[in-house]
Amino acid sequence: MQVISPWEAARSGEPETEVPTQTEFAGRRARLFWLALRMGLLTVLTLGFYRFWMKTRLRRWYWSAWRPSGHPLEYVGDPWEKLLGFLIAVVFLAFYIGIVNLLLMFLSFSLFNGNFAAYLLSFLGVIPLWFYARYRARRYVLARTRWRGVRFGLEPGAWGFAVRALWHWFLTIITLGVLWPRKAFYLEKYITDRTYFGAQKLTQNGSWFGLLRPWVGVWLPVLASGFAFGVLGYEGYQAMQNFDWVLEDNPTPPETSALWQALVLAAPIVAFIAPIWLLLALVNYNVKRVRYLTSHKSAGDASLDIKPRFWKVTGIYFWGYSFAGLVGALILTPIIVIMVLVFESDGMAAMGLESGTVETLPQPVLTAIAIASYFLLFLMWSVLMHTFIRFPMMRHFASSLTIINLGELANVSQRPRDEFGEAEGFAEALDVGAAI
């Protein structure tokens, strides 16, 4: 990729007209591979302790690869502040989770004679915290992101976000998922409308109807196959109830409805096609969602535009997961072999089956190999996800991102530093799933 020099980028000045400013993507896959591998290895060796450093360094790399209008983004997060934030979160959450879980278990034993209610309740109890943590994590990341020397920022409002997220999830669930795009739009709007670049506030325009069409593509196959198998199951159950006809002298099957017969024929086809359709529809929805939501964001006079392509994204997922799956299977094979040997070794010895070479190894060695392969699997999986999914995805998204009417944005003034001592500690502890 041709990356113009900083001087050229600066001297060419900012386009005053409405000519869109392209975004470049710098960085090579091989470098990312080694960085992710090194960081992942250190994280495994330190039993997860190094992950704060890993996250920081990978983010620095990814951020600097994005170059809107030729100037790289910068990630200024500090691993030590992440560690500190995590420790703070642990102190608070440990009490909540430890004591609350125990009390719930007690109530569940006393009132419901089982532990299911407790697991359910403690899961439900963490959900608001989960949304809260997600917003806080976003606030931290934006506060540590800079472009052209100017900070991004997100206004405080994590509890507001949690309440809205709960409400939108509730609406989505009671409408059987129809309102999913509405939830996606309003939650994104809540965040975007509180986001700043320097002194300039961002705005989310558009409406949730813009996401409805791609969502129907996801929603219909789920609903249709749910309906089909529901009817099939019900009719099948009815038929089983009247099973006596088989025992009669002259068996005549009872009348079945035409709908049922059609569904019986369609069921295998639906069972095969529905998952593929669903996966493609999900990719399509996500591509369209990013397109719509990003292209309807503006900051003052400037606005964004992004045009990721469905087939390109599908291809990245397909080849990326195929390759990672292959490598994963190769790593998994020795683990399974060793696991079987470790558990069977007692029985084998008893039966006098002392053949081969692997089972003559002492058990601790086998166990060590199995544990090492187990971690190797996670390590390689995360490295391959970085190199073969996230990297090509980011490159594709970045290269299709343009800023329209950059003019005023280029002169925007700085915003004060958001200290935010807790960093993304809560998200980290609750495993909110912000992978990078």
Partner: protein
């Protein structure tokens, strides 16, 4: 661009001139800048838009992990926001402290919170959760506990069933049950249990026995087959009664509910952490339960002696098991939920000797024929 750059690198470089972009950190304006080194002041001079700033060479830092390796992104140690971007890579050679990091996070603060986090997790897992679990276990209504035990038993039977469809059968040979009842009556008469026991034998070759919440005691057929005398079965039976007496299974269930969640927090989103979580939980659980097993052993000794059953039977049983299956000691034994067999054998034999000194005389539990019937309980 290169035609505007004049660089001389020699013994005493006279001047280094390069081009770049300067961001002053006050606004987003990208200033095209000329950069040179002022040898007299050992400083970087950045000229832009008719102004200039001076960065002492000692204060110049670079941003690591940049995706684009054909340019330098530089910062000033005393200015958190200003940035200079240049593709003149040779500049790096002139800045002595380029890779030095400065973090605004005080290590002492991190250390203090780390101590706080470790202390609070330890406090919760080792003090608060066990105390609360022990206290709350007292308040669980007996019916609730009983139902919980039944639900768990049903789960265990489903898991152990080899056909994969039904539940592992409970052995119901009438003569066998009568013999088991005799043993139970003998032990029960000499112990005061807080709740009524429910005793089952499961048709499975595993050499094991366990207690579940609500007074359930489960013996496996394999255990009865492995025993050589009724006294050995009675010893295991009495041990499980010890768990019922101290409500260990209920406390155990409540404790792990509290501590697993807390441990999960510590590992966060570390991939592969599930294994570490499992092992840590196992380690903590083992420490608790080794103590509980010890108490159950003591309970068994006291009850057996009172019921005129030789306390040494537990040791005889374990001695044979140790010969057959080996003993685990060392690192491995910390993960074991039970004390090592050697310890338990020693305890049982010592108790036998003390009891004999106190004038203990054993009375048989059942006749030979009844013992044959007990061994055939699953037929």
């Amino acid at each position: 661009m290169s035609d505007q750059t004049t660089i001389r690198v020699g013994e005493r470089p006279a001047a280094l001139g390069a081009l770049g972009t300067y961001f002053d950190g006050e606004s987003a304006v990208a200033h095209p800048a000329r950069i040179r080194i002022e040898e007299g002041q050992q400083a970087l001079v950045i000229e832009f838009a008719g102004r200039h700033v001076l960065w002492s060479l000692e204060d110049v830092r670079w941003l690591p992990d940049q995706a684009d390796r054909s340019e330098l992104v530089l910062a000033n140690a005393h200015d958190p926001v200003a940035r200079l971007i240049t593709d003149e890579m040779r500049l790096a050679k002139r800045c002595p402290n380029l890779t030095r990091r400065n973090t605004h996070v005080r290590r002492s603060k991190v250390l203090a919170w780390a101590f706080g986090a470790v202390a609070s997790v330890a406090l919760i897992i080792f003090v608060l959760v066990p105390i609360l679990a022990d206290q709350l276990a007292e308040f669980i209504p007996p019916e609730g506990e009983k139902a919980l035990g039944e639900a768990t038993l049903s789960q265990i039977r489903t898991v152990l069933d080899e056909t994969g469809i039904g539940e592992l059968p409970i052995c119901e040979n009438q003569d066998g049950l009568a013999a088991l009842d005799m043993m139970r009556g003998r032990l029960e008469a000499h112990a005061e249990l807080p709740i009524e026991m429910t005793v089952h034998v499961l048709d499975h070759p595993m050499v094991n026995a366990f207690a579940l919440p609500g007074g359930h005691i489960i013996l496996f057929d394999g255990l009865i087959k492995a025993a050589e005398t009724p006294e050995e079965v009675a010893a295991v039976f009495a041990h499980e009664m010890g768990h019922v007496e101290s409500r260990d299974p209920t406390r155990h269930a409540m404790r792990s509910a509290g501590s697993i969640g807390v441990l999960g927090l510590l590992l966060g989103d570390f991939a592969g952490g599930a294994l570490v979580l499992f092992l840590t939980e196992r380690l903590i659980e083992a420490q608790y339960s080794q103590a509980a097993e010890h108490e159950a052993d003591n309970f068994a000794m006291v009850t057996m002696e009172a019921a005129s059953i030789a306390p040494g039977a537990l040791g005889d049983m374990f001695h044979r098991l140790a010969d057959q299956y080996g003993e685990s000691e060392g690192v491995h034994s910390h993960f074991q939920t039970h004390p090592t067999l050697t310890e338990r054998i020693a305890l049982s034999r010592a108790w036998q000797m003390d009891a004999e000194a106190r004038g203990f005389a054993a009375q048989p539990i059942m006749s030979n024929q009844e013992w044959v019937q007990l061994r055939a309980i699953c037929q």
